[in-house]
Amino acid sequence: MKILYSQLKQLVPGLKATPKQIGEKFTMAGLMLDESRRVKFNDKNDWLLSFEVRQNRADCLSVLGLAREAAGYYGLVCKLPLNKLAIPAKKGSGVKVEALKHVKRALAFEITGVKNKKSSAWLKEFLALYDINSVNLLVDLSNYIMILTGYPSHLLDKDKMKGKLCWAVNQDFKEFITLDKTKVRLPGKEIILKDDKTILGLAGIVGGKAAEIDLNSQNIIVEMAIYDRVSIRKDSRSLKIVTEASLRLEKDLSPEGLDLAMNLLISLILKETGGKIETRPFSFYPVKQPSLKIKLDSRLISVFAGVDISQNKAVSILKDLRFRVSKSGQSLEVAPPLDRMDIGIYEDVIEEVIRVFGFEKIPSNQAPAFAVAKQMTSTTIRFSEKARDILAIIGFDEILSWPLTKKEINSETNYLNWDNVSTQNSVNEEFPDLRQSIAPSLLFQFKEYKKRNIGKIKLFEIGRVFGKKGSNYLEQESLGILIESGKAILELKKAVEILLLSLGFNEISYLPSIIKPKIANPFSCWDIQVRGETIGIIYKIHKSLSFAEINISKTSNLAKGFTLNPVVELIHKLVILDANVELNDSKDVGPFLKNLQKEIGRNLWSLELIDTFSLKDKTRYTIKASYVGLSDKEAKKMHSKVFNL
């Protein structure tokens, strides 16, 4: 919202701060200065200050709102330009409200005998500062008051209307033509202005051609209303029409402010275009805005700030901001001004005091010494961090990618028993689905690197993959690893094993995959298991490209705690003995070795498979067992026992 420096000084007599100082004060107090530039207005040098107005301060989307803020900050008073209007006793008949749930307050004046004309130069110049084009004097005055007070209004040519002006919920009209001749299709249930035959406007958003004010307009209706802001927002978004009016009316504007705004507008219309008010204005105000009273222990202000702010100071600030304050010991009872719809609880009041007191007065160079709190860092996070370090050390580069893909890609790379998850409104219609594997991301990166002649490709990513089982949405933290190399699958297997061993898993095994991704070589595709639980998959994609994926969420939960087991004090030298074992071809050597490990227990240093030899229906395995903590004799005894020699 913009304001001329000259207008600010006019509304806040005694204001001495420079534009720069005002900009700084507003910025620190919650309305950030966007821009300040020199302008010429009414042949005089001036400054136009533009502020970013926060979402909950609809009152500041006006010159008056900003002037009140300035007055509050500097302990001055904002001079409001009030006029007295002569209101006749005769009741008007031209207006009604049917949309009872959507209209909080409505005011309408009928003025007869106006003489519309082109606006004077200063008004055109003023409106241009706010990027509003001049139309004619009546319309321009309506826009001027909107800028000045924050309250939009709508003027209708009564002579073009057929019947009563009515606020209604649209049931009948399929189409509407706006003032700038745009045709809008209406799905139904919008809040509209209509007469007995025609739709006259989209309430709170934009007026229509049907009762447009032109230079010949003589008898007019001036309406201002406050709506249920959710309805205005909904209509504005669904019809894709955003106007200065809708931007204000979709926020929380005080219904009480309508009186001042309408007073100013009617006064100006009568002054500038002539005309008479012949009937009482229409007023619809079923539920009056309550006046709030908020209780607050003034000591809390210092608690929130962390510095001492005396009760007297707090009261002074609140009074400057037009709050009514009464004291009783440490307790304050405050009533916020009615236009401050953002004040509802004592925390809001505390914020008011501290922001005007000045955030810059609160020291920031003292880091707090807080109480010790429970350690909540999850195993998955610790696990992921360690995995990153291990992979980086062994030469893998981390990438991050976006998780949207398409169903077809998911069906190529998925290896889990779950269904696809789609978004309703993906940023890219080509990729509406959430990835089920990290593979597509790493493959994409691989292709990009090849295009750019990057070699030695070893990549990993830790990120979420998503799926659905029945009505349950699932996601897991997943580690994907990709390598390009002449011996890709073996190098990848080594990397996976270094990773798992370093993370405390030494019972690693591989089984042919149950679900094979379509991009995998089906003859080179295994599920990775630790302690008999499947935690991931490893497969060859083509001659020199292999991929592995590990479910970090699951694996981290399988991790055992810190162990002292790997540390050994050597009393004897290692005793290294070989044995040959013959197993039927149907039997996997993995479980056999696992059993050996169990049997030998703490005295096992290592088991290595050093040779395999195919026999008829059997395979002979040569196994080297290294024993620790045993003498030669003891080791030989154990060796004979476990290998049945």
Binding site: Q55, A305, I345, S364, A373, K374, G395, W402, S441, K458
Partner: protein, 356 residues
Amino acid sequence: MLETDLKLIKNESEKDMAAVKTTADLDNIFNKYLGSQGQIKQLFKEMKDLPEDKRKEIGVNINGLQKKIIDLIDSKKKELLTGHLAKTMEAEAETLSFDLPKIGHLHPITQTIRMLNKVFIEMGYSIVDGPEIETNEYNFTRLNVPADHPAMDMQDTIYIKEPNLLLRTQTSSVESRIMAGNKPPMKFVCPGRVYRNEKVNKSNHFVFHHYQGAAILEKVSLKDLFGTLDLLFKRMYGSKVIVRYRNKYYPEVEPGVGADMQCFNCKGRGRSDPDGSSDPMGCPLCKGVGWIEMGGAGIIHPNVMKMAGIDSKKFMGFAFGLGLDRWVMAKYNITDIRTLLGGNLAYKYYENENSF
């Protein structure tokens, strides 16, 4: 005669020593002269039959010869071993190849998160995360975002094909889960990925990264919050960094705070040079403002506390949130936000960031 034998043994031992080629030869010489059946031992035996005065003289000579043979054997052994070692070493020698191993790298976002985590871990904070598919309740409602808030529009949020499920738009959703599932005192940070319905271009992406955190204790204040953030900014940017804290509105906090860092390009002037000739539109980094918005913070709103089941009369909290991607881009000289999520982000094979 013993003296003659001594002379003969001496000459022979010298000849034998000269012919030694291996350590096995030396072993043979040892056995021949110094072994239990060796010639020197024989001389000592024969010496017994001599008169005492002769025994003494011969004994000295025999001992002298024994010592000489021992010394010769020792020095020859050393010579042989050194020579053998040198030959072996030459045979086993390898040359160095000029091939450096490729080292791996962590993503700039990971590295930045780690730097931030380090600061908070030192202050006793935990690192937490939560689901990326979130409900309206945890992403909005429990953060005091009203049902009609603009952020909930389809234009702003990516929804799953299911009512009330969305991709989280902020990691404050994790904050609302942690607050609901634990009792104070709590101190945690929740770095993570978030999603907004944004058109993807050079400066915007629909996937980006937040770093949020909260501390819920018996008493906290804005001074504590500012002190915490100051510490963070100083650790990230050096002790001379200038930060300001101003009032700013966020639904989940009250009072709300915006944290700005003085633009390090124009030093707060809003222009890179004093007369503005090189950038008439203002400093390109801060767009002429003189300050760079770093994030938001504030004292946790009582509604948020209430929905988490925490009594705001007994406990207070502060929360803060920083957008990470622009930090990372500024730090690593990345000009296009899309680079952070794949495609043209690459790492030099042999250089490391030296972050230890």
